[in-house]
């Protein structure tokens, strides 16, 4: 059984700060991490590998050369193979273009039974690449997966909704996108770290030619969406800081709210 996991290296957005003087995002010193939902996707594949002897896991990512580090982390957690799709031609793509590239690579890997992806990446938060890979491979998809099991030749999953969840059966192969609730990802192992990060680089790098995709289908140029502008959101100015004892402060607050007809 062959499982493909889609993963992305992302800046740890919880560490991003805004420079108050220039009002721009400070990207320096922000660590790059394996996208959290993708970690859950990988963990679910690893759980299956723990249960069955016939499972192999290939992690696929698209990104710059430094994304290898993240793929090595996936290997150190227990994945069998890691492929980085890295080429200038892939850069700057929106979800439509990115999913073209990743779907083409997955097609080239071939012979897959399940494709696990994270629901969304914390830098873009679009949740679109998973479903779009499914579309381009002509596969069924279930997103927001919070529970997974394999039953015979189909998968049975719980798909989280805002007001509960639904139990969905899907034929294989299929694309499943994982959320945090799905599992608790394992850590890397010491052995895994020595194998993945040692002198011998285990990550395969595929260029445009290796993927064999028409360059007009990937990267910035092929993207239907264009970023017109970007800006740092403005925050409201300082309000009133109340002073005095707890009682004095809360009394003043309630009076002010009442006077302004807010309560």
């Amino acid at each position: 059984m062959k499982i493909i996991v889609c993963a992305k290296q992302v800046p740890d957005t919880t560490e991003v700060r805004i420079d108050p003087v220039t009002n721009t995002m400070i990207r320096e010193g922000v660590p790059s991490i394996l996208n959290p939902d993708d970690k859950n996707a990988l963990e679910e594949a690893l759980k299956l590998k723990d249960q069955r002897d016939d499972v192999t896991i290939t992690v696929v990512s698209m990104g710059p050369p430094q994304a290898k580090d993240m793929l090595k982390e996936c290997l150190a957690m227990g994945a069998d193979e890691a492929i980085l799709l890295s080429d200038r031609a892939f850069g700057g793509g929106d979800t439509w273009a990115t999913s073209n590239t990743i779907a083409a690579a997955i097609q080239k890997i071939g012979d897959y039974d399940i494709i696990f992806a994270g629901r969304q990446a914390i830098d873009g938060d679009t949740a679109q690449v998973g479903p779009q890979i499914a579309e381009k491979l002509g596969l069924p998809q279930v997103t927001y997966v919070q529970n997974f099991s394999l039953e015979g030749d189909k998968v049975v999953v719980e798909r989280m909704l805002e007001d509960g969840y639904e139990v969905v059966e899907s034929a294989m192969p299929c694309v499943l996108t994982a959320i945090k609730e799905l599992n608790d990802p394992r850590y890397m192992s010491v052995k895994g770290i020595y194998d993945a990060y040692g002198a011998e680089d285990p990550v395969k790098v595929w260029t445009l030619a290796d993927v064999g995709i028409d360059p007009s289908l990937c990267g910035l140029k092929a993207s239907p969406t264009k970023v017109v502008k970007s800006f740092v959101p403005q925050l409201k100015g300082k309000g009133v800081m109340l002073e005095g004892s707890e009682k004095e402060m809360t009394d003043a607050l309630i009076v002010s709210l009442k006077q302004k007809h807010i309560i």
């Binding site: 979800t95 938060d125 949740a127 279930v142 969905v168 059966e169 239907p224 970007s230 740092v232 809360t250």
Partner: protein, 342 residues
């Protein structure tokens, strides 16, 4: 893949319904869609899929839809990606809308992404602002990125339709106009069992109390300063007294003190209540992203330098376990306090 953009007309909104109830976000989309349609000078249409849902078209007309495209089938009773994608994509091919909006619900985000790939167009996720460019009449969608640290405005110049998913709770709901009607277009559904490879076996509604943070007028939210699951009792007490809902920062959800459905912020729900009371919330940017549009923000925090005070209209520096009980007393004494203030 570029298309003749002029051959695409009208603004569509996906009228998501679950078990025969129109989702609140669909009414918000109608409200926003109306503005966009008026700015362009075109019709506003709702797309309604399901089984036995024709009656919902009245609601959609009364909230501003000029036209309702209705697709009904046994195979559309429960949402499945494949069935809904096929039906809506076929409709897009046939009727060529210039804009299609979806609520950024778990279903809307699943569906929108798949349709965008099927009809080869762009999709802007989780938008918080939609505008029509004055000169090009293009849709400009603004959305947060990098955990809310950055806002990006995105256009889709050469592909149609222009599609966006819109965050629930962000747009104003359409005003109801009783008795308003429009044109009902019944769409011929071409679906077979073999088009669908997934099956919804059962639907389980959450047994937790339904938190409707998006609709709440008052939200009392707890953060790390609450200290424990136990600490949330005080938050609940204040919320109950003021007739509001309980919210939470991500820290408490991650700590397991409260369920994910209570989370306000970039990765949780975006809210804009009349009053937002942040208790023991430091105000990480991710949290502020989800609540800074609240009309009145009241912050209670021990740390006078907590970033939450930057967005607060009223700031109280103090221990929430002392401040909240006092606040409840003051709230009860409002008449006396007002009399004394005069």
């Amino acid at each position: 893949m570029a298309v003749d953009v002029n051959s695409y007309k009208n603004v569509w909104v996906f009228a998501e319904q679950r078990q025969g109830n129109v989702m609140g976000v669909a009414i918000e989309l109608l409200g926003e869609g109306r503005k966009l349609a008026d700015a362009i000078g075109c019709e506003l249409c709702a797309v309604l899929l399901g089984k036995g849902v024709e009656g919902l078209s009245t609601t959609l007309f009364e909230h501003g839809a000029d036209k309702v495209y209705l697709a009904e089938s046994d195979l559309l009773e429960n949402y499945t990606t494949e069935a809904y994608t096929k039906v809506i994509s076929d409709m897009i091919d046939e009727y060529k809308p210039q804009i299609v909006l979806y609520g950024a619900t778990n279903i809307g985000r699943d569906l929108g992404a798949r349709i965008a790939a099927r009809v080869d167009t762009g999709l802007t996720a989780d938008c918080t602002v939609l505008e029509i460019s004055e000169d090009t009449k293009e849709l400009l969608s603004t959305r947060p990125a990098f955990g809310g640290n950055l806002m990006a405005t995105i256009a889709c110049p050469a592909h149609r339709p222009q599609m966006s998913t819109v965050r629930p709770g962000v747009m104003d709901k359409a005003k109801e106009e009783k008795g308003r009607t429009g044109e009902l277009v019944k769409v011929d559904v071409k679906l077979a069992d073999s088009d669908i490879h997934t099956k919804v076996v059962k639907i389980v509604k959450s047994d937790k109390p339904l938190v409707s943070l998006t609709d709440a007028k008052i939200i009392v939210a707890g953060g790390r300063g609450v200290g424990s699951a136990e600490g949330f009792k005080l938050i609940e007490e204040l919320a109950a007294k003021m007739g509001g809902c309980v919210g939470s920062s991500r820290a408490c959800v991650d700590a397991g003190w409260i369920g994910k459905e209570y989370q306000v912020g970039q990765t949780g729900t975006t809210v804009k209540p009349e009053i937002y009371i942040a208790c023991g919330i430091s105000g990480a940017i991710q949290h502020k992203a989800g609540m800074q549009d609240s009309k009145i923000i009241i912050a209670i925090n021990k740390d006078p330098d907590a970033p939450i005070f930057e967005v607060a209209d009223y700031g109280i520096v103090g221990d929430l376990f002392k401040v909240i009980p006092e606040l409840m007393k003051s709230y009860d004494n409002v008449e006396e306090l007002m009399a004394a203030a005069k």
